[in-house]
Amino acid sequence: MQKTNPLPALGGFAVICLLIAAPFGLPVFAMTLLTELIILGLFAMSLDLMVGYANLVSFGHAAAYGLGAYASGYMLLNSAMPLPVVVLLAALLTGSVAIGVGWVCTLATGVSFSMLTLAFAQLLYAIAFKWTSVTGGSDGLAGIPRRAGPFSITIFTSKTGFYYFALACLIGAYLLCRALVRSPFGLVLRGIRENEAKTLVLGYNTRLYKITVIAIAYALGGLAGALYAPFAGFANTELLFWLLSGQALIMVIVGGQGTLIGPILGAAFFMLLEHQLSSYTEAWALFFGLIFIAFVLFAPEGIWGLARRAFRRGRAPAEAHHG
């Protein structure tokens, strides 16, 4: 029986301390970037819940992001509700819609399932495009404000306050996901991932489990989108487009699927790489693509897998053997 290793928990604690201290050390734009990374990381992690733990590959996760963003944007523009309430409501709305989406999509499995998720995302895109009175059509919603919290708590209107709120959402979502995957529910998910037929035979209503995890994943994706709208100040149809869904999948795979932390790193890596490369050269997409191919060939476990491997190598060989 292995001793519980205190190092990962200490490492995590250290990272959280760094993140909390960030606004005091980093320059303004770095904070802007970090906030966006946290939001995108949350988005990628929510997809990992479906993909990494239940093998439900969604080609339409942008639907969660976009729906969350439009919902929170609309509420912030048209009502006086405070920001935290709006964000949570938007996440709940997205999760509720996802129950219906999940119900239909789980009629199929494999690639048909993935294409159904895509179909829903594209239909949502079409609706957002045409329903101009509510969504602003192709112009989207602009000028979305960051409204003060309840009891006139104004911390959310400032950049730093908003950053802490986003960070809290990410940490909270992570803890929720982690608890979920370690619980009996998570075990059943893994059973579905490894062999759905067997799990079904064991008496579990696999479809119900799948719909539940889809609803949670979409709700958290919607949470990310709901944070994005007041962060960027706009919500438009690009947030629902399948390109974003594809990028989310890439973030999960590059980061390391089924690890929750990996996709967060994957999202950070993806966004920073794109940002950096595009400021060096117009041909950035070329290098971007080559790097992904390299990752697939040489680092199939993703960034998190690489990190864990490097860390393990630094420890006693006997322990590394168990890894």
């Binding site: 320059p27 802007t32 059509g137 112009d139 989207g140 000028g143 960027a232 100040g233 940002h275 595009s278």
Partner: protein
Amino acid sequence: MATKSRFSRRWLMAGAGATLASPYIWTSAQAQAAGTIKVGMPLALTGPLGSVGQQQKRGAEFYTKLQNAKGGWLGKKIELLIEDTAGNPAACVRKAQEMVERQDCRLFTGITLSSEALAIVPKLGEWNAIFISSDNGDGRLTAESFVPNFFRANTSGPMGTRAISLYLKDAPYKSFYALGLDYAWGHNSVQVFENELKRLGKDFVGKVFAPTGTKDYSTYVTKIRQSGADGVYLVLAGDDNNAFLAQAAQYQLAAKMAMLSEQLELTAMRAVGDACLGIIASARYAFTIDNPKNREFVELWKQEHGGQVPDQFEGEQWQCQRVFEAGIAKAGGIEADKLRPALEDLTIDDIKGQVQMRKCDHQGVQQGFIFKAAKREGFSHPVPEIIATLAAARTTPPCNKMTYDD
């Protein structure tokens, strides 16, 4: 496990780590380099609208080269901050934010997509930055979505449509059908056209909108033919414009009815060749505009670009830079609070003639040009031959509006 794989894994690890921890991002901005004026241009250089962004880039670079040779603005060299957004509004906002926060850039131009512009515009106040548009045609930007730090130096969508409508007043065509792209600009321009036709006492027979990315326009061509109208008004751009024109020509649509378009750039004329012959369109800028300043501009452009003539957005970008130049000279500085009043009621006289930056909604009041796509000696593709010029006062809409009253 081959050692080679482990080696590559280490490199990937290092690369990933380096990207995440890159000092370039996490350290403070470089201070405004002594003696340069920065102009931010987060453009769509790649992606479906890449050709428009590339035009804006060339226009700005050409102007900057010539102007810096004369000493720049206020004795300082102009520094263009050009980055690729790939047409993604999220990337555009991020890059613009970086230009403001890391590079202390307060002047913006050349934002390619209207959706990107609409995302940027509400932030201009917070950034204390001035944005002069060179290609954003969405009528809303000087109407509902107007903010004080936004200026539009280019011809807008409604202005282009209005120019066509004024031209049609004396034309023999009596009834029209309209085809537009199914998004804000398409709907806006078709609406203006419909209103104008009613005012002219002509027949507006019907309209249809096609989603962007439509590959097969056969249904739409059939619908247009079915309408029985004398002419069809097209509000299309980019790949969609090319696809429609190529396919309409194959159905010999031009033989049945007149074809009019809100805009038709040289890149489109090159892409479809003779398929666009005879089309009458409104020009935001055309190299064939006949005045001394434009002739000189075209000559200089040809020398710099191996004999190529300037296209629509290249000319518009040049004009926009001229507006910057005049405003900065008048203000004596680039701070928003000084520059804004200087730009209001500013008039320049350049390649499109006189342009007056109106105070009420910051729209550049300027002439409208109508051309016909025709063959010309020395060109392998049709070129825009100017057939009418319309007065600025008649083509520019009333303040803060997208529609016309008279």
